[in-house]
Subunit: 306 residues, 2 copies
Amino acid sequence: MITDLCGGVGAAKMLAGLRQVLSDDEIVGIVNVGDDLWLHGLRICPDLDTITYTLAGLNNTETGWGLSGESWRVMQELDALGGESWFSLGDRDLALHLYRTERLRNGDRLSAITADLLSHFGVGLRLLPATEDEIATRFDTKEQGNVSFQEYFVKFHHDLDVESVEVVGAPASSPTSGVLDALESAERIIISPSNPLISIDPILAIPGIAERLVARRSDVIAVSPLIGGKALKGPADRLLEQLGLSATSMGVATFYNDIASTLVIDEVDADDAPGVEELGVRCLVTKTVMDSPHAGAALAEVVLNG
Amino acid sequence: MITDLCGGVGAAKMLAGLRQVLSDDEIVGIVNVGDDLWLHGLRICPDLDTITYTLAGLNNTETGWGLSGESWRVMQELDALGGESWFSLGDRDLALHLYRTERLRNGDRLSAITADLLSHFGVGLRLLPATEDEIATRFDTKEQGNVSFQEYFVKFHHDLDVESVEVVGAPASSPTSGVLDALESAERIIISPSNPLISIDPILAIPGIAERLVARRSDVIAVSPLIGGKALKGPADRLLEQLGLSATSMGVATFYNDIASTLVIDEVDADDAPGVEELGVRCLVTKTVMDSPHAGAALAEVVLNG
């Protein structure tokens, strides 16, 4: 059994790769919920949904985001009403948010709802929201003061100078049932090529999780989200620098040093390997860009067997 | 200034008729909110919305319910997910529910949101939700026990034997600001041809409203929703009988006797006029079926001047 710490897009690709070399019942994903939000009365879980849609084969491969065959009728009408339409929710996507919100309001747990959705879509692996308590990643920024994750990411296109990141509610939260077990019993623990600071750190901020990872450090292998010092998607590179790390393999290795004994970096960053090893982190160099199913499977082989 | 107590479809037609003979700023509608519900995390206000859509000219005149040009993408997807899709919410309609819910969650009042929506749609009259507190009409039924309004009406197609109706929360609720003033200062108060027991009674159950109507009885004129002992739409006829009244003009007059000095009945029920008058209620006979703008205007003339 292997356990994978997950953000959104990068993690979805990592899990898709893992599914090619393992059976679904050998994989548990522990998923960031720091980006989750209430909007229009609906509970929206971007990382859980990105992964679910991707593994279900419903993601839009042309745009790189959203659902295939999506329509936008509700958002068009909401925009006409003068509503908050900066966070685009397609009609298909909205159906899932209505479904989840109704069940949450009826007292069902997010983990149970997530499991039922995966089952509905025919995906056999387990995804556990890192916590079922409401936590929220927030940013102190020079330009806009304190903003929510989605304001930072979507409304301001992460074009803000971040002074600090806080995961509100995390200190009082508890890991979802099964999370600590999955960390303790996994043969290997993978950290997906997600944003360390805003996808993985909110998972680590939940009491009990970081301690388990420290204890399992020799079995934890992280994949760097950087390619030549740049994030494939999102602001990981800028955030590393804004928060006092470097946007390099060494910056990522430093961030994960307490919890991961191995870092996988991309072949274009092969020159960084000695610098990573100098920090006391084993460095594996391979192609990390999962631009095809084959590439995903090849990366999965490395993180499982490298 | 005139004030109109309103349910949904019948009241929307009554108001549309009144607007033909009065200017918008002479009309205040006090609208039932006992049917309002939380569903999928959204606050839905069926009577307010039916009236708003109708007065905005957005109602679907072919089906007799819902919006024109509506689409159903979200409901189709929700149904596929196994969600609660018995309460049909079109994509256009959903946009309004998202808009209202986001504003309610941000602390805006239902009356302010309602006013802004009317303004958006270019409708100048005032609609006041009878209360801004959450109240909920519920039914004790022989077949299904205690059910909510929408379960009774939509899920079970009002094909249940009702033993009693309760407006949960009404005793502790307060009228919306402006409601009592509108009742006190109106030249005439109209009770729309809505269901007395489930559209008008939840308004009367809000403390302070019935007392004002009793005091204004000589200026209150009610329109019977029955045509030949049958409701044009909905279960008013059966409910009157199930709750110990008769499904006749006399049953309606008995129900409204404390608060209305005049009852308007349809010409097909002209024979009922003496029976109504015997109860101490003045009876006006006219065509009450508003099957055209002309018919609506003619009924408005009767309730204003009759």
